[in-house]
Amino acid sequence: MKYLLVSATTVFLMMTVSLASAQTVGFAEAIKILAASCGKDIQAHCQSASLANNGITNCLEKNQSRISQKCNADRLVVIGLITARLAAQSEVSKICNRDMAQYCKGVKPGAGHMLRCLLKAQPSVSAKCNEAIDLAGYR
């Protein structure tokens, strides 16, 4: 029973983790996974590969038969996380367009003024816009 309980907790933990990643994570959080899961493989096979131009993930892909299972899984996860966050950020102004017109009239765009206004108006702002702000990591 205790065994079952522990596994149930583990499953629950895993679900929370995957749920959290479905909500998008920051670039630092994403790339940290690559360093943690693939650090040894990078050192062994991609020592001179560059972080730029997806050099590390491309090198790991080339060496996929030689790298650890965890790294093979996570290199794809990391690319997905970065792509998801970028997509979420590019959506915000479109999704929040009406809220900005309604609650941030006269606010000068730029330097985060609009975002500050939307964050302040959170209780009135539409659920979609609030969600978009969350997904972009702008809160």
């Binding site: 972080l51 730029a52 330097a111």
Partner: protein, 192 residues
């Protein structure tokens, strides 16, 4: 025994998770807070700054620079933030231990608080080795950080400029070989 093993693994996982949370190191908001609020446009170009460092070596040769760059005072007045990024020895390859830091810069630059403003990414070394070599290495390292931000993390490149100042602008001139001098400096040049 199996049960016990499982529970201890679970505890270890929880322990390491809290460890990761309680470790209050550099955060995205720390970078944003230091960089935001740039005043109106500043008239320094990255080329100008790069040239100033090269000329400083030509004009005042020797093991160490006898003086700060002419632009130093102007630069010091700008919104900025110093970061430590580890590279492989003698190279411009960013070490995996510093991926997270580069990611944090991307996180900060992608927020509306900093979008649309121009930034210099300035590489600095300590004073060990020749000034020419250090200048060259710092240029390559600053470029490596810029390239990672612009490509892998898709920060718009038109706002980011890499400059290497080698050992021409030490953070602690009284300890020229100190680790504190090795840094990547982000400087906000404001809206263009």
């Amino acid at each position: 025994m199996n049960k016990l093993f499982l529970s201890s693994v679970a505890i270890a996982v929880i322990a390491s998770a809290t460890g990761a949370f309680s470790q209050t190191k550099l955060s995205r908001n720390e970078i944003i807070n230091s960089l935001q609020g740039a005043q109106q446009e500043v008239n320094i170009s990255a080329d100008e700054l790069q040239k100033a460092a090269i000329e400083n070596i030509e004009k005042y040769p020797g093991a160490n620079s006898p003086q700060q760059l002419p632009l130093a005072a102007k630069l010091a007045s700008l919104r900025q933030f110093n970061l430590e990024i580890t590279f492989h020895f003698d190279s411009a390859t960013i070490a995996p231990a510093s991926y997270e830091t580069v990611g944090l810069i991307a996180d900060a630059l992608h927020t509306p608080y900093l979008q649309g403003q121009t930034f210099f990414i300035v590489g600095h070394t300590d004073a060990k080795g020749t000034r020419e070599y250090n200048l060259e290495l710092s240029i390559k390292r600053a470029q490596a950080v810029r390239e990672a931000l612009v490509t892998t993390f898709q920060v718009p490149g038109e706002y980011l400029f890499a400059v290497g100042l080698g050992e021409e602008q030490l953070r602690d001139p009284s300890n020229p070989d100190a680790a504190v001098n090795r840094r990547v400096q982000l400087i906000n040049l404001g809206y263009k």
